[in-house]
Symmetry: C2
Subunit: 285 residues, 2 copies
């Protein structure tokens, strides 16, 4: 709940956010059962919307949640909400819950809720100086799906703070995978760029980076040792784009400063976003 | 939502259940972050309430959720709700969520919600004939805590139905642990009774069985092979007490019928419940 009065799409209508009230029988509350997705908006333009819609519908299908609107109708709802809220730099979260379950276990007609909020960007110091992360042994339950289950990520916030870190990288059996809300990349000494292929959510920013041709960029196995010995490392997410990682556990990465490859890719990402705005404007004409 | 109009304790008051509306900013909805507990009631008596309260406060502490009422105040709320609803055979679910989080990630003041519903007992045929279960490789995120995260359990309901089973037993690295909502026991050929010690929620029914002296009853490592080769197997839960298991995956257990040890322990559990009613009635005098 922010200071500005905002609107929310709740089940079948756009309502003031204080009216976005979910009955306690919903499976999200009863059993943590639901999926979501999140994309950012600048000046009315939702970035890479088709990719986020693809993932949202794919997550829903795996979890056997029926999205109550088709892509065209959902797109209309998104643009109507953007117009109503008129927030220049923001993000929209699309949440699909297990619905009002009579027995508190069976999935029924899902509830769709779209909330919009001002975008919180990473502080500039994180880009300039990089961040420290820790590691923790864990694999998300259904890693390919953007479920609402962040029990572990939130539970680890205390450990992260105690170790003066900003985030945590999950690993299992010697292989790293992802952070709770970000993907993970390393730059090897030959300047090739790698991201984990297994046990990860396929991020849209991750996909955009894998599509760049300025470097050799691959997905594959990335071991914890690879991460410790990397020349550079960075995390990616919709809101954060690229944040350089300069320390993992007790290991300083490279020379302990954000690297040239990471910062170069960040510039390329910004250019991709500008292109996405132009392409969409062109398509509308 | 049942046919009978029921009351719910919602945050700070007993309200009609249709008013138990949680704002979408709650961390249970945003991030599946919350804990709960569940106990049964007959004729106004909540069974083994101190054990359930112990576990509820312990779960809350691990997840760093502050229960907004102390034990005495929460006990008063429970008895007030029981009196208001006047449901002879029922269960109360105590739910504690991560609260209305401004950033959708940070735990804030938790919301406490108590709902009561009529008890759904297992059909008599399950006790008479026993049930088939399947196995699945999985360990819950924070197994000692009764979190609301049942993504895996609910997701597996399709696989359970496809294999004409009634439930699923989690296993990992050759050791079995628990079912999504039940503990698991086996009876070996020497009539000793075993339940898994690791990666399990410590059920109150499980604790009650471990306290019985009619048999040698122990917690320890139980392998999947032990389970397949058991003379008898059964699951335990608050609502189900004991349900005999007569098949695990393709393996018939014992002679494929509910065994004498399982059914004997069920009778002992019923006696323990009767004793709990008497003890509480005596303490009140």
């Amino acid at each position: 709940m922010t200071a500005t009065p905002l609107y929310v799409f709740f089940r079948d209508a756009i309502v003031p956010q204080e009216k976005a009230l979910v009955h306690v029988s919903d499976l999200a509350i009863q059993r943590g059962y639901g999926i979501f997705d999140f994309f950012k908006i600048e000046n009315g333009h939702p970035f890479f919307l088709p990719d986020y819609l693809d993932r949202f519908y794919a997550s829903a299908e795996v979890m056997r949640l029926k999205v109550p609107y088709d892509r065209a109708a959902l797109t209309d709802i998104i643009y109507a909400l953007i117009e109503k809220n008129n927030l220049p730099s923001s993000g929209i979260k699309m949440l699909l819950t297990g619905g009002y379950s009579p027995d508190g276990y069976q999935v029924v007609a899902p509830n769709l809720i779209l909330t919009q909020q001002a975008l919180t960007l990473p502080p500039p110091s994180q880009i300039e100086k990089g961040v420290k992360i820790i590691t923790h042994q864990y694999v998300r339950d259904i890693p390919g799906v953007k479920t609402i289950n962040y029990s572990m990520g939130i539970w680890l916030t205390e450990k992260i703070a105690q170790q003066n870190a900003t985030d945590v990288l999950y690993q299992s059996a010697g292989l790293v995978s992802e952070l709770p809300r970000s993907n993970f990349f390393i730059v090897k000494n030959d300047n090739s760029v790698w991201t984990a292929a297994g046990n990860v959510l396929r991020g849209v920013t991750r996909k955009n980076i894998l599509g760049l041709s300025s470097h050799t960029i691959r997905e594959g196995e990335v071991s914890l040792q690879d991460a410790y010995e990397a020349k550079e490392a960075f995390l990616t997410s919709t809101t954060k784009r690229i944040v350089p990682i300069v320390q993992i556990d007790d290991q300083v990465i490279g020379d302990g400063k954000p690297g040239a490859v990471s910062l170069g890719l960040l510039k390329e990402l910004v250019r991709l976003e500008e292109e996405d705005v132009r392409k969409t404007a062109f398509a509308k004409k």
